[in-house]
């Protein structure tokens, strides 16, 4: 008997089932098909402006910094300012995301390179798939547009988020993912990021910048009626 | 039940009170009688918790049946201990899983069983006591009473009605004192380390009097404080609520306790 068969046999013995029971199968299949929502905290269920404010507050409490700009064309200047204010070199690495490509980087002094990171980039910029106000969490999807390595290897990470993609809760993000990738389908990597990397493994002292980015700066593009 | 009719309350004194500190039993009787109850003390030994917690189901069941028989004629069973009341109110029904008839009996018994102070407030509606104790006290929440029975606000509410009494909360009053019944005997060294930690918070409160609702915890904390040479007075909360504080504190000599120096 293979390990697989034996494990399933043991499991079914313990559960006193054969695996062929119709009602059980129907219940499991229905859960997988319907993906019912459980308890969704109402914290993020807010009108747009307040949702943006909540996201900002939550992300900041996780030690990210957040700026809001009026349109996508203002992102490069904001990125340049942030690099300058933090005494960082004016370099950025980005993926192929058109939203980033279309931004007027040339109007700034920032030297932008393209592609996945090999671990030697100081600064990276990515565009978020979305974000969740409930916990100040960014949602990143893998692929050539926004390589996963850029989320983790550079010391400093700038993430651009369109305010239209800011959800109140995780469940809304799941719906958007299903709309984009199909039911039951996922990008290879889906990264939720809540603040910069940290560790408390040395004497229970929380320190930023363990293995991932030491700094995380979020630029929200709010063309609607946001906080401004 | 008609609230004007006198409630027949069977006092389950608990082994520790029966053997070590009868004055707590009499304090419980006074509180119950003052609240209009008719109190009896049916024949009793132990609720069976030591056997239950040591994995000895047979003895635990036998003792549970013995208690249920002995208290069959009482409207309520009240114990000056969250631990023993928790055993009877929460665990007796578990003991008879697989025997529907006995489990039904155990459930009915559990439903009429209460810890003393919460019985006074939650069932009898007592909001104040006639007692005077012009001292600063701190209160330890014993684990079973707190987490199995939800005893937390009740003793504080009644203590607030005691003349002259000031309650100063210790840090982490809801953290275990390390007693744990047979744990203190089986793992004496670890239990000792936990109670040592507990005394830091007791002393830190600055109160010269420590109260709690379970004699096991009280003997444990009193034992450690006295070993440290601390002059903190340790009593069961019922003694203070019943205005019966003439007996020497737990662990103090039989004659009126001379003030020790800390």
């Amino acid at each position: 008997m293979s390990a697989r068969d034996e494990i399933f046999a043991s499991l079914r013995r313990s559960l006193h089932v054969s695996g062929a029971e119709g009602p059980r199968r129907a219940a499991a299949e229905s859960r997988l098909r319907e993906n019912p929502r459980g308890v969704v905290p109402q914290r993020g269920n807010l009108p747009r402006a307040e949702r943006i404010a909540l996201f900002k507050r939550m992300a900041e409490s996780a030690f990210a910094s957040v700026s809001i700009v009026e349109n996508a064309r203002a992102v490069p200047a904001e990125a340049a300012r942030w690099l300058r204010d933090n005494n960082l070199p004016a370099t950025l690495r980005r993926g192929a995301d058109e939203r980033l490509a279309d931004m007027p980087w040339r109007e700034t002094a920032v030297a932008v390179s393209e592609g996945a990171s090999d671990g030697h980039d100081l600064n990276g910029v990515s565009h978020a798939f979305g974000a969740v106000a409930e916990s100040g969490t960014l949602v990143m999807t893998s692929g050539a547009d926004n390589p996963t390595t850029l989320n983790f290897l550079p010391d400093n990470h700038i993430v651009v988020l369109s305010a239209d993609d800011l959800a109140g809760d995780y469940e809304s993000i799941f719906d958007w993912l299903r709309a984009r990738y199909g039911k039951g389908m996922m990008p290879r990597a889906l990264n939720w990021i809540t603040g910069p990397s940290r560790s408390a493994d040395i004497a229970q002292t929380m320190l930023l910048g363990a293995h991932g980015p030491r700094k995380l700066h979020i630029v929200i593009v709010d063309e609607g009626t946001g906080l401004l | 039940m008609d609230p004007s009719s006198s409630k027949r309350v069977g006092l389950f004194a608990t082994c520790l009170v029966d053997l070590f500190r009868p004055s707590v039993g009499f304090a419980a009787v006074k509180l119950l009688e003052d609240a209009g109850c008719t109190v009896s003390v049916p024949s009793q030994t132990c609720c069976g918790q030591p056997a239950f917690n040591s994995g000895d189901q047979a003895d635990a069941r036998a003792l549970a049946l013995q208690v249920m028989d002995s208290f069959a004629n009482c409207d309520y069973v009240v114990a000056p201990s969250g631990s023993c009341a928790g055993m009877m109110a929460k665990h007796y029904p578990e003991l008879f899983e697989g025997d529907p008839e006995l489990q039904r009996r155990a459930r009915a018994f559990a439903a009429k069983t209460f810890e003393l102070v919460s019985f006074l407030t939650d069932v009898l509606g007592v909001t104040q006591v006639r007692a005077s104790f012009p001292r600063t006290v701190t209160y330890h929440d014993s684990c079973s009473g707190l987490r199995e029975l939800g005893v937390q606000a009740q003793p504080r509410k009644l203590l607030a009605s005691v003349d002259g009494l000031e309650l100063k909360e210790m840090k982490d009053s809801d953290v275990c004192c390390g007693f744990g019944g047979t744990f203190a005997a089986k793992f004496g060294e670890i239990s000792g380390a936990i109670v040592e930690r507990k005394t830091v918070d007791i002393i830190g409160s600055g109160a010269p009097v420590l109260l709690a609702g379970d004699l096991g915890c009280l003997m444990n904390m009193a034992g450690r404080l006295s070993r440290q040479g601390r002059a903190i007075e340790v009593r069961h909360v019922a003694e203070v609520l019943a205005n019966m504080t003439d007996t020497p504190p737990i662990g103090a000599p039989a004659e009126k306790s001379a003030e020790k120096t800390a």
């Binding site: 671990g119 290879r188 939720w192 940290r198 004497a203 910048g209 293995h211 | 684990c143 239990s191 109670v195």
Partner: protein
């Protein structure tokens, strides 16, 4: 032989004795006791739905366990569809062999590891070492204890038992290629040093191995939760990603995972969410510039399917947040290593006897005051004290309870079951004891209670028992 293969759990009392005398450990535990509990309480208080989420989380796991065969099938199908491989391991040896075979097939020299308790459970590092493959723990805490040759003392903070100075000493010993006179005074400099040393290792590792907090049947995804980002670097940079997980990590849907995620970090560290929550689904896709080329999942049973249907089934709801140990007075006193095997604290006291046998692990479920704080904070509402009691029942039934304890209990029960005899014996006994203790009101030594009197006095009884006095005063009503 290592602790993995040779648990010291039977020597819990000796281990505890050493731990209580270790000032550095005591210093570290003092910090833990305060930090974690305050953080959890604050984060639970911030979320009005927290208690409802705990109920929801419990229900999801109960439903999943009752249908685990079906969700496993669904999960497996989705992993394969995404181009991954699923392996089944009945026990630790089988799991090690599957992983070693993959290493051999890939010609791997090094494995970068994210934190995985299952890897500890199957003692993977020793097996890799023996096969000439270098395991590199990349979680900072795991890295530190790997340098020290220790097992984790906490399931989410493996090195929580160490002080800053001990870690500094370890780094100076291990990182001999660095300047001897470098300043490591500040914790930040230690972190920076570890980051630098490990960064090179991430980039050169052949295989990335991680655990999984959840496996999602709906999508075939494995989920890891970290604060450092080490798990992500391990699994993203290497050519092959191996996930090692026990099979009860399955949840049906993304929505179910988010219910559990909402209680996980809050219970563990008090964070709203850990910094990195990553859902991985299969290997690199067409056009992907990064990510592993191969994706393997090793599903471990190791006795878990046999726990289903027993009084220990509820333990399989555990999501390894560590809240039970963070709130345990016994764990606070002795730390995690005293438990003598991979899983410490209350969850370890329940799980360890299942995994290494009650003969070896039986002391652990006895080492609890039953204060109930673990159950009160467990996000999955696992009745930990009740299950520890079930282990004590099994011990008692199998006559594994120590004979002195059994005899004492037997004598007590003998009297307790005979009320008249009990009253007689206690009247005489307490009378004598009360008389002897009258002057001091306490005993500093008692022949039958040395465990007690070693640390504290034993308060003397008042003398006459309550029942005797009641009978005298009220005629025995």
């Amino acid at each position: 032989m290592s602790v993995h293969a040779n648990p010291t759990s039977p020597h819990f009392k000796d281990n505890a004795h050493k731990a209580l005398g270790d000032p550095q450990l005591q210093q570290a535990m003092g910090k833990l006791r305060i930090g974690f509990t305050a953080a959890r309480a604050a984060s639970a208080a911030r979320l009005p739905e927290f208690e409802a989420l705990r109920d929801s989380a419990r229900d999801i796991k109960n439903h999943t366990l009752a249908n685990l065969d079906l969700y496993l099938e669904a999960y497996e199908k989705k992993v394969v569809e995404a181009g991954g491989h699923v392996h089944y391991a009945r026990d630790a040896a089988e799991a090690r062999k599957i992983i070693l075979d993959i290493c051999k097939e890939k010609g791997a020299k090094t494995v970068a590891k994210g934190k995985s308790m299952i890897s500890e459970e199957i003692a993977l590092n020793e097996a890799l070492d023996a096969a000439g493959v270098r395991p590199i723990e990349t979680d900072l805490g795991e890295y530190i204890i790997q340098l020290r040759g220790e097992i984790p003392s906490h399931i989410i903070g493996p090195a929580v038992h160490l002080t800053k100075d001990q870690i500094e000493a370890e780094f100076r010993k291990a990182h001999t290629h660095l300047d001897k006179d470098r300043n490591l005074e500040e914790p930040t400099s230690l972190l920076a040093e570890a980051r630098g040393v490990l960064r090179e290792k991430f980039l050169s590792a052949d295989i990335g191995l991680t655990g999984a907090n959840f496996l999602i049947a709906e999508t075939g995804s494995s989920v890891i939760v970290t604060n450092e980002g080490n798990g992500d670097l391990s699994q993203t940079l290497a050519k092959t990603h191996i996930v090692i997980a026990s099979l009860e990590k399955i949840v049906p849907t993304l929505e179910d995972a988010s219910q559990l995620l909402r209680v996980l970090a809050r219970s563990a560290t008090g964070q709203e969410l850990s910094v990195y929550t990553t859902f991985s689904t299969g290997p690199r896709r067409d056009g992907d510039p990064d990510g592993p080329q191969d994706y393997h999942v090793v599903l471990l049973d190791n006795g878990r399917t046999s726990m289903i249907g027993t009084e220990f089934q509820e333990m399989l709801r555990c999501i390894r947040c560590g809240a039970c140990m963070n709130h345990c007075p016994v764990y606070h006193a002795v730390g995690g290593h005293a438990y003598g095997w991979v899983y410490p604290g209350p969850m370890g006291a329940v799980l360890t006897p299942s995994l290494i046998g009650v003969e070896k692990g039986g002391l652990l479920p006895n080492a609890s005051t039953f204060c109930g704080r673990c159950e009160a904070v467990c996000p999955m509402r696992i009745p930990l004290p009740k299950m520890m009691r079930h282990w004590r029942e099994r011990e008692f039934e199998r006559h594994l309870t120590p004979s002195v304890q059994r005899a004492g209990l037997g004598a007590w029960a003998f009297f307790a079951r005979r009320p008249a005899l009990y009253r007689l014996a206690t009247r005489i006994g307490m009378g004598a004891l009360g008389f002897m203790g009258r002057n001091k009101g306490r005993f500093s030594k008692l022949p039958f209670a040395s465990g007690w009197t070693q640390m504290r006095d034993f308060p003397a009884p008042e003398g006459e028992t309550f029942q005797a006095q009641w009978k005298r005063e009220r005629g025995g009503r």
